[in-house]
């Protein structure tokens, strides 16, 4: 809110030094957004809006900071009318209403016009302008009804569902039973705290009026403004709570500016307020790390218009009732520390040593990152949100999951929380293939879906390889991708098997897939997605393994695959032939005349003795015999 120095000086005894004011405000009260020779613009946050976002309250804050002396508001007026309006309160909100008769409405005096014009209000007539002025001066929205246009009694109640209301802007609203209204016997004459009605508005012919000043429940106003998408300055203030103390002040102050016969004030029952004092212990001040004398504490409390009594080692503090944000000892401490000055708080470092214990995901992810970057993969981070296109793709591809949908997507492509990680990699691949020949990337992150109605979270890693080359299935590249994947996973556990499913014994931990022409990626794209949560569980313990004492005997066999056949199956058959087979390695794999050719090296070793060539050759013969039952052609 902007505050003009020429207005502020009406409320302060001593002259204002703008630069000093700005400096102190910035340090102790509000963020200063702009300072000119005429005004200072500050950002007042919701907790201080009720007391400070008005001339009087802001002057109070300046007085607390700088001791400029607060002028007394002129509240003088003479009450010449006995009449007190009858208001039926159906809610517990704080409400006042006063009748004033025989007034003359007209154009506002120059001083009033000037002030409200500074705040971008168009002068309309004296009564409307005065209501706006009181709001700016004290922070209390004021509503004035033309008494002759309404049919008493007045009620403050919730609207009936479907009830119609025509606002000052001539727009019609259909109300809900959560909307608070002021009504007469004919229906709503105001949407409480937000907007007046066309029917009861004051005009130049107005003679008799009813002045409403209230403190409506912020929740009601919040709800109605958002439901109707109708936001007014009054509504904004009520959402941030209008102090009851100010309502009382404003109901007197406005009369000061009115001629005519002023009636008695109707005041609804005051809601229960915190009347007992706040206990501020000296220990709590010390615990905060402040080195501050009692004298200084008392000076600060006084400057804040707080009353207090000193007991043995604590104060009984009664706050300034305008300060709706002060309700607990911590709130008082906040006041003390900001006036004491944050710059005076001495920096210290933690003294007690606590055991450092990070979540394991951090070091584990770091290990994965190190392995994958060494294998030539770059890390990307993508949005955790995906669009309908991606979800449909997954469903078409047979993925089973229950997606989490966003209620208010910021953009259509952000309509779901990602249930799988590789979708983002697809997008990134398509982008990077625009300027790179090959893209090898990975991402580590969380994915979400519903499982039995509950949110299921999983830490995952997805890896992708794509190339701009357009050709039939890139077998060699695929196998090299798979090879890197295995190298990577075997660092975690050599027991992990990589096929379409990636698993360890019977536990499925991920998948490997090859797609063609998806998500604007030309040609083949290979992806793998693996659960980090599961990987972490199976990470092998590192134990010392005996270094082999006896030499190994190696035998190579080569064959053509006549029909596509699972390599794992071949391995399994070979291993079954003898417990002396330590390992099987692929020495060579190539393709000729559309046939895949493999050369395998079988490693024989015994833990107890040196093997003999003859016994190994015998096993090899048996293996060859077994393999010849498969659609393979052995090569010599």
């Amino acid at each position: 809110m902007k505050f003009y120095f020429k207005i502020l000086k009406n409320y302060l005894k001593k002259p204002i030094n703008p630069k000093r004011v700005a400096l102190l405000l910035e340090r102790k009260s509000f963020e200063v957004e702009e300072l000119t020779k005429d005004f200072i613009k500050v950002d007042i946050l919701p907790n201080r809006f009720g007391d400070s976002a008005n001339f009087f309250g802001f002057a109070k804050e300046l007085n607390s900071l700088l001791g400029l002396g607060l002028k007394k508001l002129d509240l003088s007026f003479s009450q010449s009318l006995k009449e007190k309006p009858l208001v039926k309160m159906r809610v517990k909100d704080f409400y006042t209403l006063r009748i004033v008769k025989d007034i003359k409405n007209g154009e506002s005096p120059e001083w009033l016009k000037r002030i409200i014009e500074l705040y971008d209000y168009k002068p309309i007539n004296f009564l409307v302008d005065l209501a706006n002025f009181i709001m700016l001066e004290l922070g209390t929205p004021v509503h004035i009804f033309d008494l002759d246009k309404i049919k008493p009694p007045i009620q403050v109640r919730f609207a009936k569902k479907g009830e119609k209301f025509i606002g000052l802007n001539s727009k019609e609203f259909s109300l809900e039973d959560s909307d608070l209204v002021i009504a007469d016997s004919l229906g709503p004459i105001a949407l409480a705290g937000i907007l007046g009605s066309e029917r009861a508005k004051v005009d130049l012919a107005t003679k008799n009026i009813a002045i409403e000043i209230a403190s409506f429940n912020p929740q009601f106003i919040y709800k109605t403004q958002r439901r109707l998408k109708l936001f007014t300055e009054a509504g904004f203030r009520f959402e941030r709570t209008v102090p009851i103390s100010r309502v009382m002040l404003a109901s007197q102050r406005i009369c000061h500016f009115l001629d005519g016969k002023i009636g008695q004030l109707f005041v609804s029952k005051k809601p229960k307020e915190q009347t007992f004092p706040i206990i501020l212990t000296l220990k709590s001040v010390k615990d905060l790390g402040l080195e501050i004398s009692e004298k200084k504490i008392e000076k600060i409390l006084k400057s804040l218009y707080f009353d207090f009594e000193k007991e043995k080692d604590y104060y009984l503090v009664r706050k300034d009732p305008d300060r709706i944000d002060i309700n607990s000892p911590e709130d008082v401490l906040d006041e003390i520390v900001r006036f004491y000055g944050y710059e005076n708080v001495r920096e210290t470092l933690p003294k007690t040593n606590l055991k450092i214990s990070h979540s394991r995901i951090y070091s584990f992810s770091d290990l994965l990152r190190n392995i994958l970057t060494s294998l030539g993969f770059d890390e990307v981070i993508n949005y955790s949100l995906v669009g309908k296109q991606e979800i449909d793709f997954l469903k078409n591809e047979g993925f089973v999951f229950q997606e989490i949908e966003i209620l208010n997507p910021p953009r259509p492509e952000f309509s779901f929380v990602r249930p799988f990680l590789f979708l983002g990699l697809m997008k990134a691949a398509a982008l990077n293939l625009g300027f790179l020949e090959n893209v090898n990337i990975f991402e580590i992150g969380k994915v979400y879906s519903f499982l039995k109605g509950k949110v299921k979270e999983e830490n995952k890693i997805a890896i992708l390889s794509a190339s701009r080359k357009r050709q039939s299935f890139r077998k060699q590249e695929f196998l090299s991708f798979k090879g890197k994947l295995e190298t990577f996973l075997h660092k975690i556990s050599p027991e992990i098997k990589v096929e379409k499913d990636i698993r360890i014994s019977n536990l499925n931990i991920g998948f490997l897939k090859a797609y063609k022409d998806v998500f604007n990626i030309p040609g083949d794209v290979f992806i793998a997605e693996i659960s980090i949560d599961k990987l972490m569980k199976i990470q092998r313990e590192i134990l010392f393994k005996e270094i082999p004492k006896y030499p190994a005997i190696l035998r190579d066999i080569s064959f053509y695959m006549l029909e596509p056949f699972s390599y794992e199956k071949i391995k399994e058959i070979i291993f079954l032939k003898s417990p002396l087979i330590e390992d099987i390695e692929i020495l060579d794999a190539y393709e000729k005349d559309n046939l895949l050719s493999y050369t395998l090296r079988i490693i024989f070793r015994s833990k107890e003795r040196t093997l003999k060539e003859e016994e190994v050759d015998k096993i090899l013969e048996e293996i060859k015999k077994e393999l010849s039952k498969l659609p393979l052609r052995l090569r010599s």
Binding site: P350, L354, Y383, V417, N432
Partner: protein
């Protein structure tokens, strides 16, 4: 023929030929001619079969003499002439190498790791936290009930199922963590947060936050420690001296609530700090007792402080990155920038 004559002839022959040798290739050819099996030198061995014992001995001596001399001469000559291969070996050091590709980690991961290390030095453990959270954890338990104007400070991305949302700040994990752990503790939560936002150079719908939470026995863990920890962190992170300025602010889950500024890199004010010489960098405060109580913490014994700041913002300042949207662009040219 006399064996001595033949030895002399061979010697002369070799010396004559060597004199004409131009390069290593010719030298190698000559060497082969002389030394190969059935070459000129071994031809002389025929005398071992022909000669009588006594002469055989003399011949043997002379033969070995010649062989040693020729070997020496060839070695010497080889030293003088370099082969193609050797020439190649010499220049290969200047040839372009075969390239290997080393991948890069995302700058967010690299810096996240560094930040975790820095905070570990200050006694904070890094704790993993969820991104899809309940409205209660994100708002209600932090003194931001529904219909509270403070909710407007966080533009929320809601999930269709009632009561769920994408966390708008890492503070959403404060109460769940407090509930499940016994103080004293000092922890950081670091991770993704989400805002319903129109994106531009400074705004993204998704970014990362670092949140610190300390709950220890009074009078430790106070405002002074908060200030000291922040200063220490920012100095280690930016690798320079930093001045900390705290300003009053309002976050319903801390009291007092603070805005944290650090001194700018510039000397006399720059556009980055809007010529104020300070940069707004974090929010902080003493944990509100309501929040501690919801976490079943005894507020008479313990007190807490918390702080939070945007990771991308820190990096934009540190590396002079002009646009926050680079981080999630997936553009490898951006990612490779930092390795």
């Amino acid at each position: 023929m006399n064996w001595l004559e033949e030895i002399t002839n061979l010697r002369n022959y070799v010396l004559e030929r060597l004199g004409k040798v131009q390069d290593r290739k010719e030298l190698d050819e000559l060497k082969l001619e002389i030394f190969k099996r059935k070459g000129k030198l071994s031809e002389l061995k025929k005398f071992f079969d022909i000669l009588k014992d006594e002469e055989k001995k003399n011949f043997g001596l002379k033969f070995n003499e010649l062989k040693n001399e020729l070997e020496r001469i060839f070695k010497e000559k080889e030293r003088q002439t370099t082969s193609r291969e050797e020439k190649f070996l010499d220049v290969i050091f200047s040839f372009p190498s075969k390239k290997f590709y080393l991948g890069s980690q995302h700058i967010i991961s690299l810096e996240q790791k560094r930040i975790i290390e820095i905070f570990a030095k200050l006694g904070f453990s890094a704790i993993d936290s969820p991104e899809v959270v309940s409205e209660k954890d994100n708002f209600d338990y932090l003194n931001i009930p529904s219909y509270h104007p403070a909710r407007d400070l966080w533009n929320t991305i809601w999930i269709k199922k009632k009561g769920l949302l994408l966390r708008t700040h890492t503070s959403a994990y404060q109460v769940p963590y407090l509930k499940n752990n016994f103080p004293p503790f000092r922890v950081i939560f670091i991770g993704k947060v989400f805002r319903f936002e129109a994106t531009d150079r400074r705004h993204e719908i998704q970014f990362n936050q670092i949140e610190g939470l300390s709950v220890v026995k009074r009078p430790e863990g106070n405002l002074g420690e908060l200030k000291g920890v922040l200063k220490e962190f920012f100095e280690m992170f930016f690798e320079r001296k930093v001045k900390i300025r705290l300003r009053p602010s309002y976050f319903p889950f801390v009291e007092p609530g603070l805005e944290v500024d650090i001194s700018c890199f510039c000397k006399n004010g720059c556009e980055f700090c809007s010529f104020t010489k300070y940069i707004e960098i974090a929010g902080a405060g003493m944990v509100h007792p309501d929040v501690l109580k919801r976490g079943k913490i005894d507020t008479l014994t313990f007190q807490g402080y918390a702080f939070g700041c945007g990771l991308e913002r820190l990096l934009m300042i540190k590396y002079n990155i002009p646009d926050i949207r680079y981080f999630l662009s997936g553009d490898l040219r951006f990612i490779k920038n930092f390795s």
